[in-house]
Amino acid sequence: MLGMTRKDAMMLAIVAIVALLAPFILNPFPVDSGFAQFNAGYPDLMQRFAIFGIFAIGFNILFGLTGYLSFGHAAFLGVGSYAAIWMMKLLTTNILPGMVMGIIVAGLFALVVGFISLRRSGIYFAILTLAFAQMSYALAYSVLTPITGGETGLQLKLNDARVLDAPLAPGERADANLFGIDMTSSYDLIVGGWQFTFNAGYYIAAVVLVLAFYLSIRIFRSPFGMMLRAIKSNNTRMTYTGLNARPYALAAFVISGMYAGLAGGLMVAMDTQVGPERMFWTASGEVVLMTILGGAGTLIGPVLGAGLIKYMENIISKINSSILHEWFYWMPDGLEDFVITLIYPFVGKGWHLTLGIVFMLVVIFLPGGLVEGGQRIKRLFESKKARKTSDQTTPAE
């Protein structure tokens, strides 16, 4: 089906259905229940899930397949964002030209960075990409201020040129849209105590995510994808089999740079502003964490990793001491304070600590990431089932 095996088509279908039903799945708790703060089904966060999912899928094509660890992928995301916002300033508030330009400019930038960085491998490659990304950050922050807006970044303004758009009516704002559909427009469905929000921007990001996932399945299953895995597995054998590893790795690098540019363009489409901090090295590190946490080299892993990290960043960081007191009010006073003192460092601003512990546990006990965890659980069930059937067939003695 669509050039995929049944198993892959099934996985794509599951991703598409989950993306479609995300407003329901991510909002399992009624609005005024105590658990409402664990609801992740609000537009801003759902958009982040989709955008960082795309970013991580692209990163995984490079890191998961070829094993080249880039520590500067946020630069491509940032460059894509700047390109997109300039299209929205100069041409039109329609997000399509911006996204296309984000992909193209990030791809060209990745071609240059990849061409130079891929002369080295391993740790030296990682350092080279990191250096490029930090240079990009520094350029965007200061030197290129006329283009990037420096520290404050760029926003859409009323007096932007926008040559393709009709002039704004008085009092009208320049809003990102797709052929008139406003990215911020939402429809709220209220069922009993539950509230489900269907946001135009999220659904556009979700469609792009599903397409990006489909493309990554095709790349994984192609002869090209096999060559990329061959680079990771044994570069010597690759060379002595008459294959030139360099252009293969460069192509993977550019493709993953284009995915990052697409994610950057989408970020601008959802929230029409850019700042240089988007290219900071911590942002590059985050996508590495997402990919490893979910399972590098697996199809679905990066999406899961991106989802988990963004969920923790947005949900755990919102838990503060008054919420903790609400949860544990039923405890005797001394014990309550003690428990809260124990938990407090791991929530709120301390969410990084929780992330670090989760990351350590995954890397140590599940080197294949969340995907490996899922496979282990599946195997456990299968072996239990197998044991059960064998128990039934062999008569008791």
Partner: protein
Amino acid sequence: MGILEVKNVNKRFGGLQALSDMNLSIAENTVHAIIGPNGAGKSTLLNVLVGKLIPDTGSVMFDGQSVLGRKPYEINQMGISRVFQTPEIFGDLTVLENMMIPIFAKRDGAFRMHAIESVGNERAVVQQAEHMLESLNMADQRHNHSASMSRGNKRRLEIGMCLSQEPRLLLLDEPTAGMARADTNNTIDLLKQIKEERDITIAIIEHDMHVVFSLAERITVLAQGTPLVEDTPDNIKGHPKVREAYLGESATA
């Protein structure tokens, strides 16, 4: 004229003359063994042939074309395949995928951006790879990870991968090093079978005299980076100079 002509090749590493006035001619469709004590320059010679090292002087012609200055992958595309001392295979990939990669490399050249086609739809390549695995008696292992195989099987797979490219010259670097007797004999049988079935030139570097005398039609003995003698196995066995320099008691055993 042989298919491979090495003329006056010199290679120096600092104070060590690894190859000095090396001359070698390998005739088409023969099995040619290169033997010699440690440090005789066997590995240096091999690395010059595959493009890993560039000699200081001299020429290396393969089928009338110079290989010097070409990258290893380009030399492979000319028709020279190399088997390593420790089997170099794609350990993370399945046995079938291992076998498909050289077939793709033969068909598509050093690089092709075939990113949208599905491997499953490449029927001709899959069939050719499966056929090759059958002839190696490895068809039942085709979905196994190649890293989990025994050393003997890894060696078989690596030789099969090289053969699937239909090379004109197959270079083997101590193909039975570190192998049990049974695996060694299997490898000898495999190489004999290959030689019978197809037109191929095989150059083999080997320490194990049992392997050398079972396979070789010509033998070159290297010592101190230069050829000492070149002759048929029978003459080499009795050659006094060779016995003295290298063979010792093992030739009579």
